[in-house]
């Protein structure tokens, strides 16, 4: 059969996929770059939010790729083997996000981007004050035990903060960055002071670098080993599979923790008094949806052009579709849990997150994300028929990919104020996503499109659905 002779590479004759795909992506990135420059020069602070948006979108692609690589390795399943190469390539783009992080960190540290200002520059006017306020709960230092009296003093200030949050919530608001009274500022400051050590100064940056290093290490680890396996002899192939598998569970643990804290540091931290224990899981669910959508869309196109033979066919897309559907539901489940619990309890410092996403023109967008990322695709993708019709499946996956981007937009931009999409949002998105796909398509053209050396490859190619 022709499958046996297939080399699973994009042939040179296919200019569109071999070259134009990444050149085109680079062109998109260039356009995005120009728009970004324009956006930056007109309103650098607003551009900071746009850039963070583009940066987080690409970060979720990379993290999704790492997740898929780790999960298919430690579960040792066979059906997902051939779709894994795309995830490995996405995961190996981790150095790209490290590069994209540089402008973000530079903007934050020079004060050009203000999204974390309440935190990062906390110590500016209050240097000596801040150090002595390592309040309740900091158990890192032995002997720093606090009595209930300390706690009570702290809580009085905190109660003020509660009250002021309430006032801020129910009183008419003059713009999001409305002037705070001196008293209000002091109470708010107290809460931030308590955790200032966490986010302030270099610690935030150091943590960011640690996350990036871990992702680079894991992403490159999967990619390198898989590429090495392509050309290895049989014995070596088994050895590589065993090695990768034995480390995959550890990789998953490291990945989960770094993703969570990155979500806290880069997204949650924009709203200084807000917190949610499930937030890392929400970002994780979105990342999984993103990578599965990319694999499905790109995979279907590669299949239709005949580059992957039958190694990725309707049986595999059906399974990818099920997993995509599953993670989409999981995203809805964790997002709903977060919203419902915060809404039901109605604690002002928690509700502020949704408050910003319901007023100021964002209500429409919140509903749009809820319906577009869950309700509509739920009824579409639940059908077996849809998952096995490649055109429909590709449409569904592309739709979810776009909705994922809309979801990241919803996470970031309400912090900038009114719902007012502008060219710098589009510019930053095109820049980051364009760069990602430039790398992604360029790398796909250089290696086989599926892990041809995987011992489970034959089983995967012959995979079929029993129901």
């Amino acid at each position: 059969m022709s499958e046996q002779e297939h080399d699973y590479r994009i042939p040179d004759s296919d200019k569109l996929w071999k070259k134009n795909s990444w050149v085109f992506s680079a062109g998109i990135a260039a356009i995005g770059g120009i728009l970004s420059l324009l956006g930056f020069s007109s309103d650098a602070d607003r551009f900071g939010y746009s850039y963070l948006f583009g940066f987080i979108v690409v970060t979720t692609f990379v993290l999704g790729g790492i997740f898929y690589s780790a999960a298919t390795n430690f579960t040792a399943g066979h059906w997902g083997v051939t779709a894994r190469r795309m995830a490995e390539v996405a995961g190996s783009a981790a150095p790209l996000i490290a590069i994209l992080f540089i402008p973000l960190a530079a903007g934050v540290y020079t004060g050009t981007f203000s999204m974390y200002d309440e935190w990062l520059h906390l110590h500016d006017g209050h240097g000596e004050h801040g150090e002595s306020h390592e309040e309740h709960g900091d158990h890192a230092h032995e002997g720093e035990e606090h009595s209930a009296l300390d706690l009570f003093n702290a809580s009085t200030a905190h109660a003020q903060e509660f009250e002021l949050e309430r006032v801020r919530r129910y009183e008419p608001i003059n713009g999001l960055h409305g002037e705070r009274s001196a008293q209000e500022h002091a109470a708010h400051h107290h809460v931030l002071e308590h955790k200032s050590g966490w986010l302030a100064g270099s610690f935030w940056l150091v943590r960011g670098l640690i996350y990036l290093l871990i992702w680079i290490a894991i992403g490159i680890f999967y990619f390198r080993n898989s590429i090495a396996q392509d050309d290895a002899d049989e014995k070596e192939r088994f050895a590589i599979t065993n090695k990768v598998k034995s480390l995959s569970a550890m990789c998953a643990v490291g990945f989960g923790l770094t993703l969570t804290f990155a979500a806290f540091d880069w997204i949650m931290a924009m709203e200084p008094s807000w917190y949610s224990t499930i937030f890392g899981v929400v970002v994780f669910a979105g990342s999984a949806v993103a990578i599965l959508a990319i694999q499905t869309v790109v995979g279907i196109r590669l299949y239709q052009r005949g580059h992957v033979g039958e190694a990725l066919n309707v049986e595999h897309f059906h399974d990818l579709g099920k997993l995509l559907f599953g993670f989409m539901c999981f995203w809805a489940y964790v997002s709903f849990s977060q919203w419902m619990l915060i809404w039901y309890a109605g604690i002002p410092e928690e509700a502020v997150w949704y408050h910003k996403r319901w007023g100021h023109g964002w209500k429409f967008w919140s509903l749009f994300v809820g319906f577009g990322h869950f309700v509509l695709p739920f009824y579409f993708l639940i059908s077996r028929l849809v998952k096995r019709r490649l055109g429909m499946m590709a449409f569904g996956a592309a739709w979810l990919l776009i909705m994922h981007i809309c979801d990241v937009y919803w996470l970031i931009l309400p912090q900038a104020g009114e719902f007012a999409p502008n060219a710098s949002d589009i510019g930053a998105l095109l820049l980051c996503v364009g760069l990602f796909f430039t790398y992604f398509f360029w790398m796909l053209g250089r290696h086989p499109l599926i892990p041809v050396g995987d011992p489970r490859l034959a089983r995967c190619i012959h995979h079929h659905q029993s129901y």
């Binding site: 309740h136 009595s147 209930a148 905190h158 949610s276 129901y467």
Partner: protein, 485 residues
């Protein structure tokens, strides 16, 4: 068989069941348990179980006579052992649904040796769980008010209350679990019917086998029904314990109100459920000699599941702690650092929260003990896994105790602080529900095929209709189970 389907030994793949396992040996082993006289080991478990069941009735009778004041519940610990036991038992049930539904959708063949057993545990565990909230209403004879029944007084359940959501979630779960379990049983009940030697057995199994003849049409309907039930049950695995977690998380009580509760409770439930399934499976396997059907390979996989879910639970503990500090909320910090952790925050007398040890029991059992499963040697050692699963069961009980009691017994104002001590009725009732559970469970293993005969057969290589066929696309439907013998 096709070369690609064979296990690749070099990467650690093994045939699920030992070589030499045949359709007939499977039927003989499983059906034999219900046909031969009970071994001594069964009686050694059954009689103590009956005693415990008696204890349960004594405790319930005493409670109904005197009132729920016989429990240690007090102000401010309004919820204590009762709700702890309720959540613990509900959690135990989750493994059954996960194994029968989710692992089915993920095509995990190894589930077939444990699913029936775990599903039965689900049903019995939910029954045990239901006892506690039913009694905690104080006047259980009015519990039917929980149903939205039309009545002349115009009293309706308050559907804004998570406790009502719980009532509906648990009832839905019980109903679907029972039906799913029963549907799966039908082909095996027919097998027992066909093997019956006495008329009574034949009639009894025949009645419940619903006229199953193993025809293609029957199998086709069965397979389709099974898939639909798996699809319906999958969201239930998530919804039930999520709703249980809402009982706590919708409040504003520090230690209860946290957004990670729903997935954290689900992971914990699966964790504890797997642990109890394995504890009991190890005992039953040795009492009835099922070593060839429940192999070390199965246990290895279950232990991996426990390591994974245990790690998720550990992640949730870490998030709660981190956010308790990060939120800057002093009450939240107080619950975590004073009431639970036991250091960092002390009271006016300079003491830690007196129940700090329960938190550390939870951490040691749930987070530390499963870490031994990183080693394959430990995952495949029966004494090690037996001990660890028991630790996990204990740890998961403490988890619920920690959440429920340590969040409320020393709360906002020192003037309203209290303590909690369990009474003999608390302890007796909890032990008594074990009696109920074990009695039902032991009757089940004795009279109903405890392993899904037809499903296990389908995992054998020779069950695949085109096992020798190289044209793989020919066999669009693998895993057509062998007919009941």
């Amino acid at each position: 068989m096709g070369s690609h389907a064979a296990p690749i030994e070099e990467i650690g793949e093994r045939q699920l069941l030992p070589p030499g396992t045949t359709f007939s040996s499977i039927t003989e082993t499983i059906a034999g348990v219900t046909e031969k006289p009970a071994p001594r080991g069964w009686w050694m478990l059954f009689l103590p179980a009956l005693c415990l069941l008696g204890l349960m009735f004594v405790c319930i009778g005493y409670l109904l006579t005197i009132g729920i004041g016989v429990w240690g519940n007090n102000t401010p610990a309004y919820w204590a052992w009762d709700i702890t036991n309720f959540v613990w038992w509900i959690g135990i049930g989750h493994a059954g649904t996960l194994i029968s539904a989710i692992l089915f959708l993920f095509r995990q063949n190894w589930r077939t040796s444990i699913n029936r057993f775990a599903e039965a545990m689900t049903v019995f565990a939910v029954l045990c769980a239901a006892i506690f909230p039913a009694l905690h209403t104080g006047r259980p004879w009015f519990d039917y008010y929980l149903f939205p029944l039309p009545n002349s007084m115009g009293i309706w359940p308050n559907l804004k209350s998570p406790l009502m959501w719980d009532f509906f979630a648990v009832n839905t779960y019980l109903t679907i679990s029972v039906v799913f379990w029963y549907v799966g049983l039908i082909p095996d009940l027919a097998t027992l019917r066909d093997r019956s030697k006495s008329l009574l057995r034949k009639r009894a199994y025949g009645f419940f086998a619903l006229g199953w003849r193993g025809s293609h049409r029957h199998w086709q309907h069965y397979e389709r029904g099974y898939l639909i039930f798996a699809g319906i049950s999958t969201p239930l695995v998530l919804s039930v314990h999520s709703v249980v977690s809402f009982d706590f998380a919708t409040s504003v009580i520090p230690g209860w109100h946290t957004t990670i509760f729903p997935p954290y409770f689900v992971a914990g439930a699966v964790f504890s459920g797997f642990a109890l399934v394995l504890t009991l499976m190890l005992i039953v396997r040795s009492v009835f000699g099922l070593h060839s059907l429940v192999t070390v390979k199965h246990m290895d996989l279950m232990n991996k599941f426990m390591l994974a879910t245990g790690t998720m639970v550990g992640y949730a503990y870490a998030m709660e702690f981190f956010i308790a500090w990060y939120s800057g909320n002093p009450y939240e910090a107080w619950v975590f650092f004073h009431n639970r952790l036991g250091f960092g925050l002390i009271d006016e007398q300079g003491n830690w929260g007196p129940l700090w040890w329960s938190y550390w029991a939870m951490i040691s059992c749930n987070v530390l003990s499963p870490q031994v499963f990183w080693s394959k040697k430990m995952r495949t050692s029966i004494p090690v896994m037996f001990v660890v699963t028991i630790f996990i069961n204990i740890g998961m009980w403490f988890e619920r105790f920690v959440i429920i009691v340590t969040s409320v017994y020393r709360d906002y104002l020192p003037g309203s602080w209290g303590s909690f001590e369990a009474t003999w009725v608390d302890i007796g009732l909890y032990c008594g529900t074990f009696g109920l559970f074990l009695t039902l469970f032991l009757l089940f293993v004795r009279w109903i095929p405890m392993i899904a005969i037809a499903e296990v057969k389908a995992t054998l290589p020779h069950a695949h209709p085109h096992a020798h066929d190289e044209h793989e696309h020919e066999h669009a439907h693998d895993a057509v189970p062998a007919p009941a013998e």
